[in-house]
């Protein structure tokens, strides 16, 4: 942890700020949220790393998808993700957002979260322990340092692809596209492949 290195702060204040002030939006999608209260309260105390939960997406820059994502929740996730200010980081927590987990044959959950919103990192396991959140946070620091946590840039660049996938599951979306979706259908096929 290089939080106390003043030279780095003077050189890259923005990057250091994003690293050490991760405000997680308190959004509970599934059973995984049960691991979050111990990690933010007295037992594991995430606040010492600057990670605190906030109540609204406008103030947040870290999005933990905790547990299975039903189709109905996916809509709320997309709206929440689009409201967060950039740069924003998403972490899939548990095996369900990765590949469906134990809900792999469910008719009502989605299997691969990264088809619908970009995900910067995964925490595998069912359930992952609260310590795994801290491991994920340190990995996220490394990614931010190397400028590899660029999911929000990917969302801008490939918005057409994500929007098409969202519409495939949710039908017509009630909100207008966030970015431009101009382009030909053949490109979409290429992007998908």
């Amino acid at each position: 942890m290089d939080r106390n290195k003043l030279v780095k702060w003077l050189k890259e204040p923005a990057k250091m700020g994003h690293k050490y002030s991760l405000h997680a939006v308190y959004f509970c999608t599934g059973c995984g949220i049960i691991e979050v209260p111990p990690s933010i309260t007295a037992r594991w105390d995430a606040e010492r790393f600057g990670v605190i939960p906030v109540a609204t997406p406008r103030q947040a820059n870290l999005f933990l998808i905790t547990g299975y994502v039903s189709v109905k929740t996916l809509k709320a996730i997309i709206r929440t993700y689009e409201q967060m200010p950039e740069p924003k980081f998403t972490v899939g927590f548990g095996s369900c957002p990765i590949n469906g987990g134990m809900y792999w044959d469910s008719y009502n959950t989605i299997k691969h979260l990264d088809k619908y919103i970009p995900v910067d990192g995964w925490i595998a396991g069912c359930m992952p322990r609260p310590e795994a959140i801290f491991v994920a946070v340190t990995h996220l620091w490394t990614l931010i340092d190397k400028e590899m946590a660029n999911g929000y840039k990917k969302y801008r660049a490939k918005y057409r692809y994500y929007r098409a996938n969202q519409e495939k599951v949710l039908g017509t979306l009630e909100w207008p596209p966030l970015f431009s979706i101009e382009g030909k259908d053949e490109e979409l096929v290429k992007e998908t492949a």
């Binding site: 204040p13 700020g17 002030s21 007295a42 105390d45 606040e47 010492r48 609204t56 103030q59 740069p87």
Partner: protein, 298 residues
């Protein structure tokens, strides 16, 4: 003239630094009370640096102007408050001006938040204004008692009079309004048990719900200023101010730590409970203080 300009620049900077330090200190002390290690004391600075580097979403012209009005109002109040020997504008206006300008903070936030049409915001704004109404009544009674005891509206005169004799919190009739001020101080600071304006678990941080990026940074800075102001006013009126800025700041920190301890152990009141409390006990005590001051005239 040059000295006055330097003072006008320096005293908001002191208030800003101390206010941010107080925010960090409160988070650390709260963490230690919860048996946690807690964030570094510089965490609010890190947060503000991050917030200024995020994209931010505006909801209209009044959304931008309101938050600036709120911040500017708080900065102007600092100019009227003596910080040790620094009192750039205290010669003009005194306590009456402070009483008016202190309302700019909540009003600006209300104007700004109202532009974002969010139901949580409107609940938060109504709570902000009702709570301001709640603590303004005892506050006016307290200030009336202090002003009529020292026969002056100038806060510099009041500080000087205290330094010649002793602190007003330790002198007989003024101890009563002093206690009343301590009772309403959490409400002015917007901390528990009067945290109902923000109430993150209940109305998703109230008026701040649509603030992100720069706006949240400005709101945080405004909060830092208003914390400093309400405690500095108490120190000036009841703890004798100080001729030395360092000593003054120490007094501010001590009072703030007491407030943080109250904040750490109390639950949140509902808005009607808060008003019932504020208009009953602090208002009654302040009124009793005012009458006592009239009976025991100097």
């Amino acid at each position: 003239m040059v000295m006055r300009i330097v003072e006008i620049v320096v005293s908001p900077i002191i208030a800003f630094v101390i206010g941010i330090f107080l925010l960090g200190l409160s988070r650390k002390i709260m963490a230690r009370i919860h048996w946690r290690y807690g964030p570094p004391i510089t965490q609010p600075v890190i947060d503000i640096i991050k917030l200024f580097n995020q994209t931010s979403m505006s909801h209209g012209r009044l959304f931008n102007l309101g938050i600036i009005l709120s911040l500017a109002g708080s900065m102007v109040v600092v100019l009227f408050l003596p910080i040790g020997k620094l009192h750039p504008l205290s010669g003009s206006g005194g306590l009456l001006v402070i009483l008016y300008l202190m309302l700019f903070g909540p009003l600006g936030i209300a104007l700004s938040g109202g532009e974002a049409a969010n139901p949580n915001t409107s609940i938060g704004i109504s709570r902000t204004l009702v709570l301001a109404l709640g603590y303004e009544l005892p506050l006016i009674l307290i200030l009336l008692a202090v002003m009529s005891h020292y026969r002056s509206i100038s806060i510099v005169e009041i500080v000087r009079a205290q330094q010649e004799t002793h602190w007003s919190l330790l002198s007989f009739p003024l101890v009563v309004p002093g206690i009343a001020y301590l009772l309403i101080l959490p409400a002015i600071l917007g901390e528990r048990p009067f945290e109902l304006i923000k109430a993150p678990q209940e109305i998703s941080s109230g008026p701040m719900v649509e603030y992100g990026g720069k706006y949240l940074a400005l709101a945080t800075i405004q909060h830092a200023f208003s914390s400093f102001i309400s405690i500095a006013l108490f120190v000036n009126l009841f703890l004798g101010g100080s001729s030395n800025p360092g000593f003054f700041i120490m007094k501010v920190i001590v009072v703030f730590v007491v407030e943080v301890l109250i904040n750490a152990v109390f639950p949140r009141l509902r808005i009607e409970q808060a008003i019932r409390y504020l208009w009953r006990w602090p208002a009654l005590i302040a009124f009793a203080g005012l009458i006592l001051v009239y009976i025991f005239k100097r």
